[in-house]
């Protein structure tokens, strides 16, 4: 069963712990620039939206890669970059409409979320569960239950 990473922006507190732990886990240092996930914030409105690679089923990044460095890993439902093959042309960065790919200035190659091999670090540290890694079969029901919960509260209040 494939699991997918989802965000509930209403639960996000904007703390950016996900960014810090992602960079420490993947790179061994703290630098949110090198995180695979970023919380985009409208601080003066109190609105925070976590953004990350959506692991598209029809990935444009893979389609434009001239050296076929981006491959789908069906078992984990993710896209991987073979950093040996990557020539750093950055085409994938250009075509991705979600900003899911970053460029590492150190080795001049692209980097992306690999779902930490099925145990995403960001999810483990997210206290409010704004980030969740859930079975794809259950994701719709889970969201519907959350939405229904609000309706439930409203109806009970009447």
């Amino acid at each position: 069963m494939t699991k997918i990473l989802i965000a509930d922006y209403e639960k996000c507190t904007g703390c950016r712990l996900c960014e810090m732990v992602c960079s420490v886990n993947k790179e061994g240092f703290s630098d949110p620039t090198m995180s695979r996930i970023h919380v985009i914030k409208w601080e003066t409105e109190g609105l925070y939206i976590p953004m990350f690679c959506q692991q598209c089923e029809e990935p444009l990044c893979a389609a434009v890669c001239p050296v076929n460095a981006i491959q789908r890993d069906d078992e984990l439902g993710r896209l991987t970059v073979d950093r040996e093959l990557c020539i750093g042309c950055k085409s994938c960065i250009s075509v991705c409409s979600m900003g899911g790919i970053g460029f590492d200035k150190r080795d001049k190659k692209v980097f992306r979320c690999d779902l930490c091999d099925g145990d995403p670090t960001c999810v483990k540290y997210c206290e409010t569960e704004a980030l969740q890694y859930v079975d794809s079969d259950k994701v719709q029901l889970k969201k519907q239950r959350n939405a229904a919960h609000k309706l439930h509260v409203a109806l009970k209040g009447k």
């Binding site: 507190t13 240092f29 703290s30 914030k41 601080e43 109190g46």
Partner: protein, 630 residues
């Protein structure tokens, strides 16, 4: 490595900038944040200078662990000689500025001189630029941050700013970042304003190497799980510090109508549940799992529709009980207004409630008061006065000078009504029934304050053996009304708070409001995994003690003495009129207070005049200060 950040010496008069390495020996003795700031304060500030002169030094420092896998490690320390008190100026703020300062390559900024016109600093990946801020002068502390992001075309730029209060040298003006984070106490905003420095903007991506990344992450997760498993964390995450109000007000531990009583009846609206009507969710500082801040929109009044965050428990006092207001929305307005103006909420509320009591007693001349109707609970007048203080108009101009200078203008009889120690007003807690808390505000190096040494868990009636285990000392008493065992609690908390302020960790995630939080042992392990520096838990306590001693030495060099380690006379003379039977009719017993003070000095290794003995200086390796290592 984790310790490769730099210190920048910035002279705003000459525009000279010098970047220096931070000696390892200095790190080992003072760690970072408040620790190194206090070292720099003692080493770089000449005795007796005017705090608002260019000779004063503004210190801005990230903690040793700021921005790394340590719990709630978002903090920035800001220091200098306090324009409010002339003693140690020291304040601490959360938010996102501290981590970004480190990503930009710096741990410490040492800012001297005075710019010839308004400027701001732009610090990006190791480079520092002094930029014109004429167009920002007069803007509030929040708008300034947005304007700088716009000007630098980068939404991720973080700024520390002052509002108009700092520009106008209000002596309790603060420094601000994000919507509500503030380095609140001791007037660091006035110091910044005196240098014509409107803001410091930071941005960068210089990685902070972690000594043992995977183990540091595992340790971090363990600590988060430990912290979040407490009931306290759950409550904080839902209500923020507002939760304290219900408990302290129903007991009778809240300073009300300045200091006339210790409980505000019919104030259910100030209890945390009322916030449900306004809160749109919670917000957190960098990397924090506790998320103790409400997000809210102001629903009416002159700021209707504006987005704000908070309030803290302290603001429920400043714009609630102290001024006799029991309506939450009015307190929320006060919260947002002081934040925009960039003023310490505690000092502002305290100064206004003092003025209200003076008005009631007929001690404010009519010509000074003007049209202000300073009757208790008149929030229109309170908010007007907030504005007047920030803009230095009329009575506000006098109150802006802080307790001692304002009393010089209003008459020497007025000072005894101001609830202050060493020239800084206290928060809204009433410490008459709680000797440990009273000793803490009397001895605090920055003046009356709860974040220097407050053993808040003394209020929880924990069994004595549990207290002895936590505090590592015998003779603890579990009744908060007792005088025995309390001096050690204050001493121990002083060391702990000095340590976490040096590490850049939030006090809400150490032993402050809950006994089940990390302390020496956990920090010892965390420091090693992140930085590679090794300290035993005992050594860390000694480091906290060293920092506190240096602050004490600074104050004594500035002329403070044992006589300043005291409380307002009202604590000794006026019994608490209200509250539960256990707290009613309480004063602080002068003789017992003196005995506590004496015992407290003994723990520090100070003589009967409160001065560190040569043996103490030797034990703490402070014998050669100032040692000019940086």
């Amino acid at each position: 490595m984790a310790l490769n950040r730099k210190a920048a010496f910035i002279n705003l008069t000459t525009e000279d900038i010098e970047i220096k390495e931070i000696p390892k020996e200095l790190r080992e003795k003072f760690l970072g944040g408040r620790g190194i700031d206090m070292y720099l304060l003692y080493n770089h500030i000449k005795p007796g200078i005017d705090p608002l002169s260019p000779e004063n030094v503004l210190l801005v420092s990230a903690g040793l662990l700021t921005g790394t896998p340590a719990p709630a490690s978002s903090r920035t320390h800001v220091g200098g000689k306090s324009p409010l008190t002339g003693a140690v100026g020291s304040s601490n703020m959360g938010g996102f500025f501290g981590p970004e300062l480190r990503f930009a390559g710096f741990d410490h900024l040492i800012i001297t001189g005075k710019a010839s016109k308004p400027v701001y600093l732009w610090i990006y990946n190791g480079k520092i630029e002094i930029r014109d801020a004429s167009h920002l002068w007069g803007e509030d502390s929040i708008t300034t941050q947005a304007l700088i992001q716009e000007e630098l075309a980068d939404e991720e730029v973080k700024s520390m700013t002052i509002g108009v209060a700092g520009e106008n040298l209000v002596r309790f003006a603060n420094v601000r970042t994000s919507i509500k984070n503030a380095g609140g106490r001791s007037g660091m905003g006035a110091l910044m304003g005196s240098k014509n420095l409107k803001a410091i903007a930071v941005r960068g991506n210089i990685p902070i190497e972690i000594a043992n990344p995977q183990e540091a992450l595992r340790n971090h997760k363990e600590l988060i799980d430990f912290i979040q498993s407490s009931k306290y964390a759950e409550i904080m995450g839902h209500w923020g510090t507002m939760f304290i109000y219900d408990v302290t007000n129903s007991t009778g531990l809240i300073r009300t109508r300045n200091f006339q009583t210790n409980q505000l009846p019919n104030s259910e609206e100030l209890e945390c549940e009322e916030m449900e009507k306004y809160s749109t969710g919670v917000s957190a500082c960098f990397g924090c799992t506790m998320h103790c801040r409400h997000k809210y929109l102001l629903k009416e009044g002159p700021m209707e529709g504006e987005y704000a965050e908070g309030p803290e428990y302290t603001t429920l006092g400043a714009f609630g009980t102290e001024v006799g207001n029991n309506r939450l929305h009015r307190a929320l307005e006060g919260n947002h207004l002081v934040n925009k103006h960039g003023m310490d909420t505690l000092s502002t509320g305290s100064m206004i409630s003092w003025a209200m009591e003076l008005y009631e007693k007929g001690l404010i001349p009519d010509e000074l008061r003007g049209d202000l109707d300073l009757r208790w609970g008149n929030m229109d007048a309170v908010l007007q006065l907030v504005d007047d203080i920030a803009n230095r108009r009329g009575l506000g101009d006098i109150l802006a000078e802080g307790p001692k200078r304002a009393a010089e203008k209003l008459g020497k009889d007025t000072l005894k009504y101001n609830i202050q120690v060493k020239g800084m007003s206290n928060l809204h807690s009433d410490e008459r029934p709680t000797p440990s808390l009273a000793l803490g505000i009397a001895t605090s190096t920055r003046g009356a304050d709860h974040l220097r040494s407050r053993p808040a868990i003394d209020l929880y009636h924990l069994p004595e053996n549990v207290l002895e285990k936590i505090y590592g000392h015998e003779g603890m008493t579990s009744d908060y009304r007792d005088y025995e065992g309390k001096p050690w609690m204050v001493f121990w908390q002083e060391c702990l708070y000095a340590l976490v302020d040096a590490l850049g960790i939030c006090k809400f995630q150490t032993v402050f409001l809950s006994p089940n939080m990390p302390k020496w042992e956990e920090y010892s392990k965390t420091i090693e995994l992140i930085t590679g520096l090794k300290f035993t838990p005992d050594e860390l306590m000694k480091t906290g003690e060293r920092i506190y001693n240096l602050e004490r030495m600074f104050n004594m060099r500035e002329g403070f003495t044992k006589a300043d380690d005291t409380l307002p006379d009202r604590y000794f003379e006026e019994p608490t009129p209200d509250g539960l039977d256990v707290v009613k009719g309480k004063v602080i017993d002068r003789e017992k207070f003196e005995k506590m003070l004496e015992e407290y000095y003994t723990y520090h290794g100070w003589d009967s005049e409160g001065k560190a003995t040569p043996e103490t200086l030797k034990r703490l390796n402070l014998i050669n200060e100032p040692s000019n290592m940086l």
